[in-house]
Subunit: 491 residues, 2 copies
């Protein structure tokens, strides 16, 4: 590093909205990504890692007339490249990669990608400006068999990372059905269609009656403010409401209701047919509505996608910040977006895919106690005599060769209490002690720190008091005894 | 995505110096990182993933007086955060993290980190602006036992990823020895010391005689240009040359030579003692000079580090671009840097660590044929009848449940030749065919594509001609036959 000029000391902080991840937070995410990648790979998807930095042009955000680029992305100007930016998702880079390499890639191109993405948005509790996504997409396949495959794979991926059947549901909707609904409503004006779309997005919050009011004259919201309506006639709202509430007791009933909602619309009928095909393909593979279900009340993303839309939701309840139970909610979403590659090539290229929100999924598993909240630390070999470091290194070497995580204490060994405090901070299961006396007698002391902590916590419990938490064993039984204690701690 | 205005089509390219990684390039790197992390973890190191974006201040690059920040980093200004930048290595962020969280972290803090770093430097062949590092560091341990541990761990890591003993060497040097050499030379002026350091850096290229010339009056370089010398007296160069050429036939001889080179210098003697301790600790653990050796000719990084310096080199020969043999060279480096955290806290904190250049190490393994250059693709189930998609999906389901990577062809199935071309492009080992006739007879056709390719290549070889590459088997033997073919292809 270059020599520092006398300058005020820098602050040891991340930029706003960024954070660091420690120990098990990192390894658990890596393990989750590895498992999801295993599922994607088994389905024939190939890995892709695109560069984190893209031209702003390729990402599809445009510079306004002012100095700073569009909000939402981290962007800056390079002398030789113009404006570049950190990717804000893994889909926009896929479109660029496919357009750039399409002559060398197979068609259809099934690819998966995992890694951080960056959003220049206002951070909040649990909302960071850098987070992980784990995507799988099929580019160049127009068949809804590709959509059905994505849904089945998503279901497999969730079960593979530890969400049991019954604790999640993948819901499927279709933008074309909504287009059919707009057609039978007589909404042809693009701006009005966009207004209807925005209203539909609020269905989760305001319900059927709220949607009717917002499509009509307007609505007094909870804060007392009056929200202007879209201004449609009351009967024009009927197909929308029929669409949103068409979920029946099974897919067959739902599909029948949807056929009613889209009436004579050709695009609407096409959309319902697609959903029927997806349901049939999935049911033939035993992905029944307990895992994947047609559900027209899923409206998130309907504005973005061009065909089928999927969303995976965890259905178990958790306690929110205020101690109220609520459903955990969405952990993955996706759908068909046939226009993305066209930006580059001028030719429409069908594509469909899904993105799993890995950090949310990890939070869910921690919430349910399905993964350990803390990682076990290494066995710590203490240093009683700093001139015999080689002896202590030999011990950790033996332990590691037996597959046991182990280390020698490398701080100042003078104060032995500090060594045990260190082992405590590391969540070490076992400490090993060999002083001059032990050395002379050919033995080592082995402390069971997990049991020791239990005894300290429950000092009145006889059952703990009677069990020893420190053992003296011959030096050559070090590994065997540590293994025995570790195995016992699993109980 | 927001609706696109009519704009010229964006170019489908990465920014200059960036690239995409496909398929096995991604999975092989992930596997290498996983294995190295396993070694680091077994040594008691904890994972850390710091944010990719840091304040420029924390990274330790300072703004010049002009508009653009220091070259070398990708940096930009945020309204609410000032100048921020992409990390250029994993060490500067570690210093920030340790300074920020030191009250919560154990001391010593052993951590590993892996991920991309970004350099805003001129790209060249094989040199990209985004590349991976995989680091391990111990913060807060002043003992050279920490340095010895890093060297042993580096040796283990290299063997774990597939570099056999004898194909690599970890060389260890010490900045303090060089400081001792400067002392006995009588070089006390900081600028002059820096000049000597720069000269030493050229030892690899110019050799002993060149170093003598550059320390004295100067030297005519290969291009015919005259390079001014440092201007020292000829005898002043002696200790430097003694230092650089002190490597003996074993560590003992090297250490004796070094003691000669540093003469009466106290700091020099301390440096030699440290090297002696490192050698003794490592030899006691059987890390002899066939794996880790004291080698004062290692000068890379001596200017940056404050104590022991390590470098791992692959010693086998490869062919360069021009077909000449050369040694593969350095794949990892590190050392002790006791001043890094001090920037933030004002207190010196001892630290030592190593960084493995993962992309170079992967290149070395590929060069030696130790990892497959291409990944095997999935079994492809072709589509003879698009109405029986569910049947084909059932086949891939069965194959996947048996642990076999498999997929249904999802492109337009009309042209069967395209389906086989697709399987070829995917490097598929096997294609499965079930037309109406097969369906009626309860059989499937299974094509061995690897054997088929061999036959096509060597059509004259009788041994291939006699072996069938396509088999008709009962439908219920699909999985067993595919498994048999895949196992046979491994031969």
């Amino acid at each position: 590093m270059a020599k520092q000029k006398k300058a005020p000391r820098p602050k040891a902080v991340t930029p706003k909205g960024f954070r660091d991840y420690f120990g098990h937070e990192v390894t658990e995410r890596a393990e989750m990504l590895r498992r999801i990648a295993g599922v994607y790979h088994a389905y024939g998807f190939d890995a892709l890692e695109s560069s984190a930095v893209e031209t702003l042009d390729a990402l599809g955000k445009y510079l306004p007339d002012v100095d700073r680029p569009h909000a939402g992305v981290f962007a800056w100007e390079e002398e030789d490249d113009g404006w570049v930016a950190l990717r804000y998702d893994l889909t926009a880079p896929l479109a660029r990669v496919y357009a750039q390499h399409r002559n060398d890639l197979p068609t259809p191109y099934r690819r998966y990608a995992m890694g951080p993405v960056w959003r220049n948005e206002k951070p909040g509790p649990g909302r960071y400006r850098q987070f992980y996504q784990c995507d799988a997409d099929t580019v160049g396949a127009a068949s809804v068999a590709a959509d059905a495959e994505i849904c089945a794979m998503l279901s497999d991926a969730l079960e593979t990372v530890g969400i049991p059947r019954g604790d999640y549901i993948v819901r499927v909707n279709n933008r074309k059905v909504l287009n059919g609904v707009l057609e039978v409503m007589g909404v042809t004006d693009e701006d009005q269609a966009a207004d209807v779309m925005r209203t539909i997005d609020k269905f989760d919050k305001v319900g059927e009656e709220g949607v009717r009011e917002l499509l009509g004259k307007g609505r007094l919201d909870a804060s007392g403010a009056y929200i202007d309506g879209v201004g449609l006639a009351p009967e024009q709202a009927d197909p929308v409401v029929a669409f949103l509430t068409s979920k029946g007791t099974d897919n067959e009933e739902t599909l029948a209701n949807l056929r009613g909602a889209v009436g004579e619309s050709a695009i609407g009928a096409e959309g319902v047919d697609e959903l029927a095909q997806i349901a049939a393909l999935l049911e033939a593979q035993s992905y029944g509505p307990d895992r994947i279900v047609i559900d027209p009340s899923v409206v998130r993303g309907l504005g973005y996608y061009t065909g089928p839309v999927f969303e995976a939701e965890l259905t178990f309840e958790i306690l929110d910040e205020k101690g109220r139970t609520r459903q955990f909610g969405s952990v993955a979403g996706g759908g068909r977006y046939d226009d993305l590659v066209k930006r580059f090539t001028g030719q429409p290229v069908p594509a469909t895919g899904v993105s799993i929100g890995v950090d949310r999924l990890l939070a869910a598993l921690r919430e349910k106690g399905r993964i350990e909240a803390r990682e076990q630390g290494p066995v710590v070999v203490t240093v009683m005599d700093r001139d015999r470091m080689a002896d202590y290194q030999a011990m950790v070497g033996e332990l590691r060769r037996a597959g046991i995580r182990a280390e020698v204490y490398l701080g100042n060994p003078k104060n032995f209490g500090n060594q045990l405090k260190y082992a405590d901070k590391r969540q070490s299961p076992v400490a090993v002690i060999e002083g001059a006396e032990e050395k002379a007698n050919g033995v080592v002391q082995i402390k069971d720190l997990v049991l020791g902590a239990k005894i300290a916590e429950n000092a009145t419990l006889e059952e703990w008091k009677e069990r020893p938490s420190q053992f003296e064993v011959p030096r050559d039984q070090l590994v065997a005894k540590v293994r025995e204690i570790l195995d016992g701690q699993g109980d």
